[in-house]
């Protein structure tokens, strides 16, 4: 069953010098209980998608076109009240740990209780507190720390508490935006394991946004690779990471270091473009200046989606 369907979403930012397209014609679908990973380097628009789904974008962002269908109804058309009702109850978020996602002058427990009671004012404070205790046990934080202030928590604990809060209303979908970035490897590993376990236990769908392909590969069934606002390759994780076809995906994988050395995929050494990018028509492939397998026609013609298998496609004119 399709839980979330995004059609032709484009989001732009207005800056002093003009508008910049951050998300360009993105479409994807997510089934109930599945996990989707969005990978890409900084500035590729992956966070903008995550925020755009809940309409949490800053004031200077503009959704230019598209539809975000959640269980069939378009979030972009929701009234403010309906949107506030949807947020957290149906779709919640796990923020980056480095972000100061907790209000520093309120106790952590109060902030979780607030999330619970805002969506169901009928729950008494004491009952909500019991709920928080259950959540804390689930994410392995001692329950006597519930009413501590955020600055009394360690980085990993703050992040686990965020996970607890994300679960507090039993949502259908969780958007996790770089949830393990800026944490130590060991803590990062614990957080990832927790997210995986919870996803399985409650059968929650997850959109997992990260720059770290290793982490995404660990968590997600389906992968979308983004580059300069566009999805360039999408498919099952075994397809995208084992047999990448888009030259950008290949270069991304070839620069990923593992304990066994560099991944096996790269056959091209230093990716070098055979083309100079000076006269590139608008709408053509963004990766062209760095693409080792580009041809002159790439500078004038827009890239096309190529289906490699039923689930695996890439946005490139020349991939097998």
């Amino acid at each position: 069953m399709t839980l979330l369907q995004v059609n032709n979403l484009s989001i732009a930012y207005q800056t002093r010098t003009g508008t910049a397209l951050a998300v360009d014609d993105v479409s994807f679908a997510l089934d109930k209980g599945k996990s989707l990973g969005i990978v890409g380097e900084s500035g590729c628009g992956k966070t903008t998608i995550g925020m755009g789904l809940l309409r949490l974008l800053p004031d200077n962002a503009l959704i230019k076109q598209g539809a975000v269908l959640f269980k069939g109804s378009d979030i972009l058309e929701f009234s403010t009240a309906a949107l506030q009702d949807l947020r957290w109850k149906k779709i919640s978020m796990i923020f980056q740990a480095a972000m100061n996602a907790w209000n520093p002058v309120q106790r952590v427990g109060d902030q979780i209780i607030e999330a619970i009671r805002i969506h169901d004012p009928g729950i008494s404070r004491d009952k909500a507190k019991l709920e928080v205790e259950k959540l804390y046990e689930m994410v392995d934080i001692p329950t006597n720390r519930i009413f501590d202030y955020p600055h009394e928590y360690s980085g990993g604990m703050k992040q686990r508490a965020i996970i607890a809060m994300a679960l507090s209303c039993r949502p259908d979908l969780i958007i996790a935006d770089e949830p393990s970035t800026a944490l130590d490897v060991i803590v990062q590993d614990q957080i990832i394991k927790k997210i995986k376990a919870i996803q399985k236990k409650f059968n929650i769908a997850i959109i997992f946004i990260s720059h770290d392909i290793g982490v995404v590969a660990d968590v997600c069934h389906d992968i979308m690779v983004m580059y300069k606002g566009r999805i360039v390759e999408t498919g099952k994780r075994e397809e995208v990471f084992v047999e990448p076809v888009h030259p950008y995906t290949k270069s991304l994988l070839s620069s990923y270091l593992t304990l066994d050395g560099v991944l096996e995929f790269q056959n091209e050494s230093a990716p070098k473009s055979c083309l100079t990018s000076t006269d590139q028509a608008p709408g053509t492939c963004g990766f062209l200046p760095n693409c080792p397998q580009a041809e002159p026609s790439c500078a004038s013609e827009a890239p096309q989606w190529q289906a490699i298998s039923e689930t695996h496609k890439a946005l490139c004119r020349f991939c097998k």
């Binding site: 900084s42 590993d189 290793g214 982490v215 590969a217 270091l257 066994d260």
Partner: protein, 278 residues
């Protein structure tokens, strides 16, 4: 630890560094934080040595102590058989010429008010090396060796006109312009995207091979250390947990901490299995 016939370039013995947590003027609090706890290690000339640890493990502090950016409480650091404790005047200046730093976070590692040329030439001016013409030549060589060419295009630029990777290359050029024997690279790519940090790693290993420089590479990323270093030391809570040739440690870790560090590393096990199958 193997003691070679040649003396190591850096010998750290029994090094201790503590911080006071509460610095109040009125009461001297006795709460101390041990950042570096009786560490000993040796780095051989010309090797690429990795120091791997989580944040707060004391790895950056150790680097700063070696660079003589902070005083230590006990122990000794010998660089080229020279005690660096208490170095002053011309001896300190000579020491400063031989050991350089490539810092973390390229967005903050360059002074925004200095052009690329001024940044790279500054160490030469401080050490009164060469006339303006010679300085320009040396700066140009350093910048082009760091992969920013033609150098004259980059000289007049200011940091905000460079991308993150370019800034880090400029920072590398600045460190290399004095032709140091020893370079401390403190998480030089932690703020950069994977593809860019990969090219920076390649640049560092090239420099090390060509110029016979000794590198101390400080990182939280075991995979990066695996890629660059021939020997590593794993540091946890101010103590060296384990050290030795990189591959030995990764394949055959001796301590629990190292084991958990290796296990926590995101792996492509499914990918490798599939790749092996095809």
């Amino acid at each position: 630890m193997s003691s070679s016939s040649r003396s190591p370039i850096l010998q750290v013995e029994d090094l201790l560094k503590t911080y006071r947590t509460d610095r109040s003027l009125i009461k001297r609090s006795s709460v101390k934080l041990t950042a570096v706890n009786r560490i000993s290690l040796e780095i051989e000339r010309g090797e690429f040595f990795g120091l791997v640890g989580a944040s707060g493990s004391g790895k950056t502090t150790l680097g700063r102590l070696i660079l003589k950016l902070e005083p230590f409480d006990a122990g000794s650091i010998r660089f080229n058989d020279l005690q660096i404790h208490g170095l002053k005047g011309s001896k300190l200046k000579a020491f400063r010429r031989q050991i350089q730093l490539i810092p973390q976070d390229p967005y903050q590692s360059l002074n925004p008010y200095l052009s690329v040329f001024d940044t790279i030439a500054e160490p030469l001016i401080i050490h009164r090396m060469g006339n303006p013409g010679e300085r320009k030549v040396r700066a140009r060589d350093a910048l082009e060796a760091a992969g920013l060419s033609p150098a004259d295009d980059f000289f007049p630029r200011y940091p905000h006109q460079l991308s993150g990777g370019q800034r880090q290359r400029a920072a590398i050029a600045r460190a290399m312009v004095l032709k140091p024997e020893f370079v401390v690279a403190d998480e030089p790519t932690s703020m950069l995207d994977a593809s860019i940090s990969f090219t920076i790693f390649k640049l560092l290993s090239e420099i090390q091979k060509q110029k016979k420089v000794t590198f101390l590479f400080i990182t939280h990323d075991l995979a990066a250390a695996r890629f660059l270093c021939n020997r590593i030391a794993v540091i946890n809570q101010g103590e060296i947990v384990e050290s030795g040739p990189t591959l030995d440690i990764i394949e055959n870790p001796q301590t629990e901490y190292t084991k958990s560090l290796i296990q926590a590393q995101p792996s492509f096990s499914f990918a490798q299995k599939a790749a092996a199958a095809t």
